[in-house]
């Protein structure tokens, strides 16, 4: 049995989690078994049943009041209980901060192998071989996963998720909870509301020091809004507090994998590229024709961001 953890955001299954379901269903098919999804937190049955259209035949829903807020330790206990209950041999999680943490704790509880950053479906013809991203996207490693239980953290775009016509039954899952998982007290939260998340986004518009200051961001935000894109930035930009830290992309920030990444006034230092090299298509806009970003980009415009960005925004609006 393949068990897939689906992450909820305000009661909806995240897009990367639907990819994880499609991935899990494909593994189930290749190994002649079925796929079950596990959701933790508040969501209605109709939303959870969506996992069925991506190939799961059953959805376990753990909805105890204590689990309403994200808690990696408690979620790991629920995940481990579900693995035992369902005799799962393969566990799929989308790659995210929450999933890495809960996957790790569940792996230690179960004595399971854990491989994070998986980029392709496994080869099950001889053993269980998966390919994962290493050296921050500069290379891949194929590893033979040996544990009786195998936990895989899959990267965005590891599989193309296509909605089908299948359906899944939703069952309540109520394992015993451990007090020890709730020792931390959340004393506050700062969260930008209604912002598109960088790890989920299909399009990202990102700015560097070439934007020249925090007050100059409007043209970039306008393009992002016209494209329905999330916004990111380079490290110096967040270090200087021009943009919030959670927008920092790169080696020491968030690693993203959108379909389209538009870099505005970013030089293309290797540490920045490390966070964006999994993007499908990269556009670089820079006034310096020698900027290293052009070597990593698919499309380039040599020009002044303050001239180019408003014109692109207009072109996007005109094309609608």
């Amino acid at each position: 049995m393949v068990l897939i953890f689906v992450e909820l955001d305000n009661g909806s299954i995240k897009k990367t989690s639907l990819e994880a379901v499609a991935y899990g269903a494909a593994v189930a098919k290749a190994t002649g078994t079925t796929a079950t999804a596990l959701a933790i937190g508040t969501a209605d049955a109709a939303e959870l049943a969506k996992a069925g259209t991506y190939g799961a035949t059953k959805v376990l829903h753990a909805n105890a009041a204590e689990l309403a807020n994200e808690n990696a330790m408690a979620y790991a206990s629920v995940l481990a209980a579900a693995v035992k209950n369902e005799n799962a041999e393969v566990v799929i999680l989308p790659k995210s901060g929450l999933c890495d943490a809960m996957g790790a704790r569940a792996a230690a509880k179960l004595g399971a192998s854990i491989v994070s950053g998986v980029t392709e479906l496994p080869d099950v013809s001889n053993g269980f071989k998966v390919t994962r991203s290493i050296y921050t996207g500069k290379a891949f490693a194929t590893v033979d996963v040996k544990g009786t239980v195998k936990i895989l953290g899959i990267k965005k775009n590891a599989i193309e998720a296509v909605e089908g016509t299948g359906s899944a039954t939703v069952e309540a899952f109520t394992p015993a909870l451990n007090n020890g998982d709730f020792v931390a007290k959340v004393t506050g939260q700062e969260k930008a509301s209604g912002e598109l998340s960088l790890t989920e986004a299909d399009i990202i518009v990102s700015g560097g020091r070439g934007m020249k200051g925090p007050d100059n961001w409007q043209p970039l935000l306008d393009l992002a809004s016209a494209l329905g894109a999330a916004t990111g930035c380079s490290k110096p930009v967040s270090d200087l507090d021009w943009r919030p830290h959670h927008e920092h992309i790169g080696q020491t920030g968030i690693k993203v994998a959108p379909n389209l990444y538009i870099a505005c006034g970013i030089s293309g230092a290797i540490q920045h590229l490390a966070g964006v090299n999994s993007s499908k298509v990269i556009v670089a806009i820079n006034k310096d024709p020698e900027a290293p970003f052009f070597k990593a980009a698919d499309y380039g415009i040599v020009g002044d961001v303050f001239d180019i960005l408003p014109r692109l925004t207009k072109a996007v609006k005109d094309a609608k």
């Binding site: 990696a72 790991a76 901060g97 890495d100 943490a101 809960m102 790790a104 704790r105 230690a108 509880k109 192998s113 854990i114 491989v115 994070s116 950053g117 290493i134 050296y135 921050t136 996207g137 290379a139 891949f140 490693a141 194929t142 590893v143 033979d144 040996k146 544990g147 020890g180 931390a184 959340v186 004393t187 506050g188 939260q189 700062e190 998340s197 270090d239 830290h245 959670h246 080696q251 020491t252 690693k255 389209l260 540490q271 298509v281 670089a284 052009f294 070597k295 990593a296 980009a297 698919d298 499309y299 380039g300 415009i301 040599v302 020009g303 002044d304 014109r311 692109l312 072109a315 094309a319």
Partner: protein, 245 residues
Amino acid sequence: MKILVCITNVPDTTAKISFTDNNTKLNKAGVQYIIGPYDDYALARAVELKEQQGGSITVLNVGEAESDPQIRKALAIGADDAVRVNAEPTDSYFTATQIAAIAKEGGYDLILMGRESIDFNSGVVHGLVGEMLGIPSFSPVMKLDIEGATAKFAREIEGGKEFLEAPLPLVLGCQEPIAEWKIPNMRGIMTARTKPLKVVEPVAVGDMATLDQYTLPAPKGACKMIPADQAETLISLLKTEAKVL
């Protein structure tokens, strides 16, 4: 307060990655090694906490003798002693088992790690170690203060941060801006030479994920340049040619 800081010995962020031995070994020719940048943040915060509250810092690496220069650097930055588990780290579970074994013996109040290694980028060793020790783990932590037996810290979440309090002992995976990277001074470098570095043999762990081979990504095609006066054509190219709009 006893702090354990776990550091990786990894190729510099600018290193060109290539492989040898039928794509089963990293080609180390010309590669500079560094302390993992996230681990470096963890170490920097540990040094600050020790300056504030006293205590001791032990650095730990699971790796072969080639890690020693980075361990010495950590000692020069301010750790008091070091342990190296003499083994090639074969996977996250193996590495975590070694760290947990050392941590159990040492009885540390705080175990600081990086958010992730920059060689395998798993982001899982802190969770594994926390569970193996039966203590809480959190990552990525971007702010950390200790008040008595309580840690007050901020964790990055999607689109923002969350503030937490939890009792020690704890395992934390760190990232910026928890502290500024520290550069060793001359005195630090001199005293580091005589600080104790204990080398111990690994505990046995069954095979969990063994390397088959490494591969490099397909080379990127040439960048299509669009003249600035025709910038608008980019949008139609993204639609019709790249098909991403």
